[in-house]
């Protein structure tokens, strides 16, 4: 049930993203538009990079042993 709910939420988010890209109207920004705007300021770039770095580190790198073994 929980997985289905996640699927629905993700589907809705992707559907809105597609709508925002097609509509090309500032009243209906796609998430990529929001991120691109935030990326234009230095603090925004730092925050996005930090979030991206944390995500990659937490999921894939944390606790690495040389060479690539967990």
């Amino acid at each position: 049930m929980g997985l289905a709910l996640w699927g629905v939420l993700f589907g809705l988010a992707m559907a809105y993203q597609g709508f925002g890209l097609v509509k090309n109207d500032d009243r209906w920004p796609a998430l990529s538009d929001v991120l691109a705007t935030v990326n234009r300021s230095t603090p925004g770039r730092w925050l996005l990079f930090a979030a991206w770095l944390w995500f990659g580190w937490h999921l894939f790198v944390r606790g690495w042993r040389f060479f690539l073994r967990a």
Partner: protein
């Protein structure tokens, strides 16, 4: 069940995996998720503020389009450095202060995060840009104009 030898109520076999009290839930679950949500809302408000200030915010201007390689390297290093410091702050606040993890995790984040940021991400992005420029030159298009938005 708290692992044998764990200090007080902070250390757990895996942070947040075995909440004992409501404070554990608050520290490991509520605050991190709430912070992520607040951060996302801040992104949206930032977009809205810029939209009100500048009107059409969908004009794509990239500060490094057509810039020299030195400027691109400095741009990427500045972005990676600032982001890396914020990343360490995230680890310190959410893993050590709130999560009660061992300080060795901060050492891991220092080493692994810097490797990821400065040995993988920055060189990788430079390699991609190099490839992109090579393809452009082979196609005879040369370097793009500096900071000019694409025609609509």
């Amino acid at each position: 069940m708290i692992a044998a030898g764990a200090e007080g109520v902070l250390a757990q076999p895996a942070a947040g995996a075995d909440p004992q009290t409501w404070t554990d839930i608050l520290r490991h679950d509520v605050i991190p998720v709430a912070t992520a949500f607040v951060g996302f809302v801040a992104l949206l408000l930032s977009y809205r503020r810029r939209q009100k200030r500048e009107g059409n915010v969908r004009v794509e201007t990239n500060p490094v389009v057509g810039a020299s390689w030195i400027r691109l390297v400095l741009y990427l290093l500045a972005t990676a450095s600032g982001g890396y410091i914020l990343f360490l702050l995230i680890v310190w606040v959410f893993y050590l202060v709130l999560g009660g993890e061992d300080s060795t995790l901060l050492h891991e984040a220092l080493a692994e995060g810097s490797m990821l940021a400065f040995l993988i991400v920055v060189p990788g992005l430079l390699a991609i840009e190099g490839l992109h420029e090579l393809v452009r030159r082979l196609a005879g298009r040369g370097r793009p104009a500096l900071n000019r938005p694409p025609p609509r």
